[in-house]
Amino acid sequence: MNSATGKTEYLRITDLHSYYGESHILHGIDMKVDKGECVTLLGRNGSGRSTTLKSIMGLVGRRSGSIMLNGTEIINVPTHKIARHGVGFCPEERAIFSSLSTEENLTLAPIVASGGMTDDEIYEMFPNLKERRNSPGTKLSGGEQQMLAMARILRTGARLLLLDEITEGLAPVIVKKLGEIITELKKRGYTIVLVEQNFRFAAPLADRHYVLEHGEIIETISQDDLPTKMEWLQQTLGV
């Protein structure tokens, strides 16, 4: 994936500033993700990683700068159209809908492009969901809800996945499983931006790491450089 040739740029963010009401959270983010790559956003609590993902989706109060998605500028595009451009977002809080059954939750998001996983494939990947198909979404366990949140964006044919802390609060077995899933997705050519606390989980999956602090990218570390930067990372993030 990292070969110098044949790379197509899929997402490019330039000088992104974001605000919640009065407070200025992101102070000029620049980053670039190629097609089929997996990158992570690292940083302390509150450093602005989730906000970066939300900014891409247009879920912050106000934003400026440029976000190019597969050659299209989306900085002023409304959220639902961004999703229709093929971006799948798995939010930190999972956001499973309690008034919808598991199945309704799963099929809620409209198909935005062909090539998404079929329901069978999904149920194969997450057998728990099949079992609990008819129970209300929020009656699922935390882990199951996380799977559901992942699954519902895999169905839609989105090619860029924004995953926020998907391993949070999950039992190690499930974390391991998610790791396998992401590897599989990478194989299928999905582009992934991963926000993770769990560095051990993220490190082997990512092609590149962006380190955020106070809403700015303070370091970019490619997978190859990781061993040499380990100590610095440990110092700044405590990982």
Binding site: M57, T79, A83, F89, F97, L100, L108, T156
Partner: protein
């Protein structure tokens, strides 16, 4: 035979009439509940929209020879479109603010709409005849039910349960329910939530207009016909549980019945029995009978 010292025939007929009035409450409160669910707005202009529905039917018949059955479709569509325009131009700006502002804006709109109609049509009201196909009485033994009233119940129940079905069992309904919980994420999944909101408001007021057309042959078509009703309908929505679809239908019908009984036992109190119930319910179940937390 007597129940509570009331002849059962009288009681039966009063209950039936209560059910008929309850049908109006049900459609109106259903519209309010849907709007409240997704927009978090107490639509104070709901009564005005009900009135508009009746007036569209009357104007249609008087000036354009549009009959009852056409109006039954046309009026909700036209009033729904007005709702869409109002939502797009005004309500839209208020979502980020306190709910209070939505209530105040729609209150102002109600004053404007009712004021204009009052100026144009006066207050005596206009007569609207029962459509020919629905004139006549059905002898029920204990009473003679006007055919039209029977039709009102059937039409209202059909619309209410149709709406309930749409919301509980269809994809669009799933969007609406999800949108009520977390509109941002629904939008992030690729659904046009602003449009959904506009649609919801339009649909909610279209329901009010539908009730208005149903009411036209029964009550005088009068610019103020909605403004007295609306307060009672608010009470119905609050009792049922704000935003609860089933709650507003069931409560609407139920309160119609209770009002009917009150009219037999102590008619003077029939206009406030709803408020008394509302206070009791809120003391015991703050979220209303069917409300969530």
């Amino acid at each position: 035979m007597e129940i509570f010292g009331i002849p059962s025939a009288l009681l039966g007929s009063q209950l039936l009439i209560g059910l008929i009035n309850g049908s109006f409450y049900a459609i109106l409160s259903l519209g309010l509940a849907i709007i409240f669910g997704l927009l978090n707005i107490i639509n104070f202009s709901h009564g005005a929209m009900y009135m508009l529905g009746a007036f569209v039917a009357w104007i249609g018949l008087t000036y354009f020879e549009v009959g009852y059955w056409t109006s039954l479709l046309l009026a909700p569509v036209l009033v729904g479109l007005l709702g869409v325009v109002l939502e797009r131009t005004m309500l839209k700006q208020l979502y980020k603010l306190d709910h209070l502002y939505g209530l105040l804006l729609t209150f102002g709109l109600a004053l404007i709409i009712e004021g204009i109609f009052r100026d144009q049509f006066g207050v005596s009201g206009e007569g609207y005849a029962v459509p020919d196909a629905l004139t006549g009485l059905i002898p029920l033994g204990f009473m003679n039910l006007p055919l039209y009233r029977g039709w009102v119940v059937i039409a209202a129940l059909t619309v209410c349960f149709g709406t309930w079905y749409m919301i509980e069992k269809t994809k669009l309904g799933a969007y609406l329910r999800a949108g009520t919980e977390n509109p941002q994420i629904v939008q992030a999944l690729g659904i046009n939530v602003p449009m959904l909101i506009t649609f919801t408001y339009g649909f909610g007021v279209a329901l009010a207009a539908f009730a208005g057309v149903l009411a036209a042959p029964v009550f005088q078509v009068n610019p103020l016909m909605g403004s007295n009703l609306i307060i009672v309908v608010f009470a119905v929505v609050v009792i049922g549980g704000m935003g609860s679809i089933m709650g507003s239908i069931v409560t609407g019908l139920g309160l119609g019945l209770i009002e009917g009984i009150t009219k037999v036992i102590y008619p003077e109190a029939s206009s406030i029995v709803v408020f008394a119930i509302m206070i009791l319910v809120l003391l015991v179940r703050p979220a209303g009978l069917f409300g969530k937390s």
